[in-house]
């Protein structure tokens, strides 16, 4: 194991509620360790009570106090105080809604600030989401901006800073904007729920495909034991065990392992009781999947979590798996779609579907439970696209401590929709399709450097694996194995070959990484 992945493991272990990370202990650590400098006054602890943020953000703060200010905590003390801070000074799930991709390490996301000024000032070094996932008093936002320039004095010399009165802008525009947009407000109460039970799940791992499965949670003294079984549509299965905890108003964090890999779960417990989020491999977080889970059992509101596959070609029949809870209602199909029920339970219904003609996007339901996405009956695709349209991979390994960061692509199939025109709002998303994948040099400069030969290779599941890090003596100027690449997907559909392109920046390592990037 590399030193970096050990570090990530240690960091991740904090957000588990592992060991004796109980709230009472957290309060004690806060009082003894943090309170040594942060005076407790009428309004609470100096600074600490002027902020609300995510469990990851609290952990970054506690880490920094250790690294920069010599606060020495045992791992269980650190875990306890992070959990206590997240429970007492956290965000509601609603407050995190638009920005969860940064917590989930979701690779298909676009980080946009509210305007160019905020993007250039904050989003230049870290995600804007990192900003929007904080609430502070006006004074504390002022402290935070002062901290930035005080801690990183070259900040005002960097591109998009040296060309302007950076400190003037920071004081006169940025601080008031932050104070007004993200005021402290009230911390939501900690959920403190027993999540024990069986949670059917549905989701998809890009590059591998749809899965259904079961998350089993068992409450323990400090959190929950967790077991996860994923049954992939390709017939493979994987079982993980581990533990997790619910932080604050609804932030589920867990670490699990199968014999092959270690994963981390970052889910939100929604108001309707559904767990939703993403899991990813430790040290290779591009690889993972989105997941929705609902607790089964008596009284569970009927809910369809997933329908796989979510499409049917007209004139063909397909076996379709419907996953959910309380699936006891009557199957409701649109006209033109017929079904044979192969098997049925309250958690899983297997259907054999057929349709003589293309219907486009239609709704499926079992009683009151509607499928979360439209089901598509189609004849032939009109076009394909690649997701993501722009991606970044990073060189790694090669004797260095930082592993490679791959990039995962998928080919999406589309219908033009009622207006018959491609790439308009009424286009119908048909789903993901297997494709032939290749990379090409993006432009003449990439051609001259033979980027496609050096930067890495893409497999037929759309996974691009970048080259090793370090100067390459074979390349001009000993360049690293970086490259500017075009990713090309070809899908054979109904006797036609459809093609799409995406842009891949195969670039250098992320030398500074954080729980919230």
């Amino acid at each position: 194991m590399t030193s970096l992945s050990r570090l990530l493991l240690a960091t991740t272990a904090v957000l588990l509620g592992a060991g004796a990370a109980r709230a009472a202990d957290g309060a004690e650590v806060l009082d003894s360790a943090c309170g040594a400098c942060h005076a407790r006054e009428e309004g609470g602890y100096d600074r600490i009570d002027a902020v609300r943020k995510t469990p990851e953000a609290w952990d970054m703060t506690v880490q920094r106090m250790g690294r920069n200010h010599g606060v020495s905590l045992e791992p269980e003390e650190r875990a306890a105080v992070v959990r206590y801070l997240a429970d007492t000074r956290g965000l509601s799930v609603a407050e995190t809604e638009d920005w969860r991709y940064i917590l989930e390490r979701e690779p298909v996301a676009q980080d946009l600030g509210p305007n160019a000024r905020m993007s250039e000032t904050c989003g230049r070094c870290h995600s804007y989401a990192r900003v929007a996932l904080q609430r502070r008093t006006p004074e504390d936002w002022r402290h935070l901006v002062n901290f930035h320039l005080g801690q990183f004095p070259t900040l005002e010399y960097q591109a998009l800073a040296r060309d302007r009165d950076w400190w003037g802008i920071a004081q006169n525009e940025i601080m008031p904007f932050l104070a007004e947009t993200y005021p402290l407000g009230e911390a939501p109460p900690a959920a403190d729920l027993d999540l024990s039970g069986e949670w059917p799940v549905a989701g998809r791992q890009p590059g591998r495909g749809d899965y259904a499965g079961l998350l089993t949670l068992t409450a323990t003294e400090s959190g929950h034991d967790a077991a996860l079984r994923l049954d992939f549509a390709d017939g493979s299965s994987e079982s993980f065990t581990g533990s997790g905890a619910l932080y604050g108003a609804g932030e589920w964090r867990a670490s699990l392992a199968s014999p092959e890999r270690e994963i981390r779960q970052v889910f939100a417990l929604k108001e309707d009781g559904v767990l939703e989020g993403r899991w990813f491999e430790l040290g290779r977080d591009v690889v993972g999947g989105r997941l929705t889970a609902a607790r089964a059992g008596e009284g569970a509101a009927p809910r369809i979590l997933g329908v796989s596959p979510g499409r049917l070609r007209a004139g063909e029949t397909a076996e379709v798996l419907v996953t959910g809870v309380g699936l006891t209602g009557e199957l409701q199909l649109p006209e033109g779609l017929t079904a044979e029920i192969l098997s049925a339970s309250d958690r899983e219904v297997k259907l054999k579907l057929s349709a003589p003609e293309a219907l486009g996007a239609v709704s499926l339901a079992l009683g009151e439970a509607a499928a979360p996405e439209p089901f598509v009956v189609f004849g032939a695709l009109d076009r394909i696209s690649i997701s993501p349209e722009t991606a970044i991979s990073r060189v790694g390994d090669g004797g260095g401590p930082i592993p490679r960061t791959p990039a995962q692509f998928e080919a999406f199939g589309w219908l033009n929709g009622p207006d018959g025109a491609p790439s308009t709002e009424d286009d119908v998303f048909v789903g993901r399709f297997p494709a032939q994948w290749r990379t090409e040099n993006f432009d003449a400069a990439a051609e001259a450097m033979r980027d496609a030969d050096y930067a890495g290779s893409i497999d037929q599941n759309g996974l691009f694996t970048p080259g090793v890090a370090g100067p390459n003596p074979e390349r001009p100027m000993m360049a690293n194995n970086i490259g500017n690449l075009k990713v090309v997907a070809e899908v054979e559909d109904a006797g036609r070959s459809l093609q799409a392109e995406a842009h891949l920046y195969a670039t250098v390592q992320r030398f500074v990484d954080a729980l919230i990037r």
């Binding site: 004095p153 040296r162 060309d163 100027m477 000993m478």
Partner: protein, 361 residues
């Protein structure tokens, strides 16, 4: 140390005049990680001396030579200290730590010594360190006694200053920030400002300047590349992005902003020859410019990135360094590579200023 003449190493590539006793010889002083100042004898093409500085890490950054070239000053210790070093013995004669437990003070890029050798001017950026929060404080220029390193006075200055240079007569102190700020060297009062970012704003975007390499010794001319876009051209037009050269003559005080070519490559830094007729820019290419016409002359590819440029006292050799760990010689006319000197331990010069100085042989 056995000194081998450069001509023996480089064959006939260089036609250097034979040095006679007492004649000045060029040396280069390169700071390298984590604590070294490496002196290179450019005639012998060899490392002359390695000076190690206590508590200097992660790297000494800006070296400044006294006018008699017997003393070198350097910003060290995470940019929070300045040291005075005897160049012959390598001994640290004095040191000032700017920071206190309550106040952290960084000196990032700007330091120069007055021509009479009496005063060291250092740009400083401070932050007050409270128990639970920081407060950014105004920037200033601190004037130290070059002999004792005692603080003589401080003067408020604009933020974002990088390079500083005394006028030849010592009366003025030039500071590069978002504009050229000119201070009275005695009182520290800012007496004049000339546009850099404000230059030709009706025609182009504000020039982007990253000037962190002090390297004006042999010419007395500070030269800085800058980049902007013409407003009347489409951004996709290859002629829209422009490379410019700023020059400032410490003798005459004349400063010029000039557009020299379409921006097809970047130069990290530039330097001017002693005749003040040529400028040389480097990063991934080495380029010569004619300063009389303001046009590019010649460009060659480099085997790797170099950040800093110096021109020899006779104007015949361009010395490239920075980024990695060598100092490389190029013919100033043909831009042909003549040779290089590796620094000890492969230690990186990074983006430190590399200075050229002369002293009697």
């Amino acid at each position: 140390m056995k000194i081998r003449p450069l001509s023996a190493l480089l064959g006939v590539a260089l036609a250097l005049p034979a040095l006679s006793r007492g004649e000045a010889r060029d040396y280069i002083i390169a700071p390298s990680r984590p604590d070294k100042l490496v002196v290179v004898d450019t005639e012998a093409m060899a490392v002359d001396k390695v000076i190690r500085i206590k508590d200097a890490g992660p790297t000494p950054m800006v070296p400044v030579l006294s006018p008699d070239a017997k003393t070198v000053y350097a910003i060290v210790n995470r940019s929070e200290s300045v040291v005075k070093i005897d160049l012959e013995s390598g001994e640290t004669l004095a040191r000032v730590d700017f920071s206190t437990p309550e106040r952290r003070v960084k000196a990032l890029f700007g330091m120069d010594i007055s021509p009479d050798g009496s005063t060291l001017a250092i740009f400083q950026t401070p932050v007050k360190l409270g128990t639970t929060h920081y407060e950014v404080e105004p920037t200033s220029i601190a004037f130290y006694d070059a002999e004792t390193l005692e603080l003589k006075r401080e003067a408020p200055s604009p933020r974002q200053i990088t390079l500083m240079m005394y006028s030849a007569d010592g009366a003025k102190l030039y500071a590069i920030g978002r504009n050229l700020h000119i201070f009275d060297a005695q009182t520290g009062e800012m007496i004049e400002e000339r546009p850099i970012q404000g230059w030709e704003n009706d025609k182009r975007t504000p020039p982007d300047v990253l000037a962190v390499w002090s390297q004006y010794e042999s010419s007395g001319v500070m030269s800085i590349p800058f980049y902007s876009f013409l407003l009347d051209k489409e951004p996709t037009d290859p002629e829209a992005g422009r490379t410019g050269l700023f020059t400032l003559d410490r003798e005459t005080g004349e400063s010029v902003m000039r557009d020299v070519e379409a921006m097809d490559v970047f130069y990290f830094s530039t330097a001017v020859n002693p005749a003040k007729t040529r400028a040389y820019g480097a990063y991934n290419v080495l380029q010569s410019f004619d300063l009389t016409t303001g046009k590019p002359i010649k460009r060659v590819a480099l085997p790797r990135s170099y950040y800093s440029v110096n021109v020899s006292s006779d104007g015949k050799i361009v010395w490239l360094s920075g980024a990695l760990s060598d100092v490389a010689a190029y013919d100033a006319e043909t831009l042909e590579r003549l040779g290089h000197v590796d620094l000890p331990e492969g230690a990186s010069i990074s983006l430190n200023s590399v200075r050229l100085f002369s002293r009697p042989d």
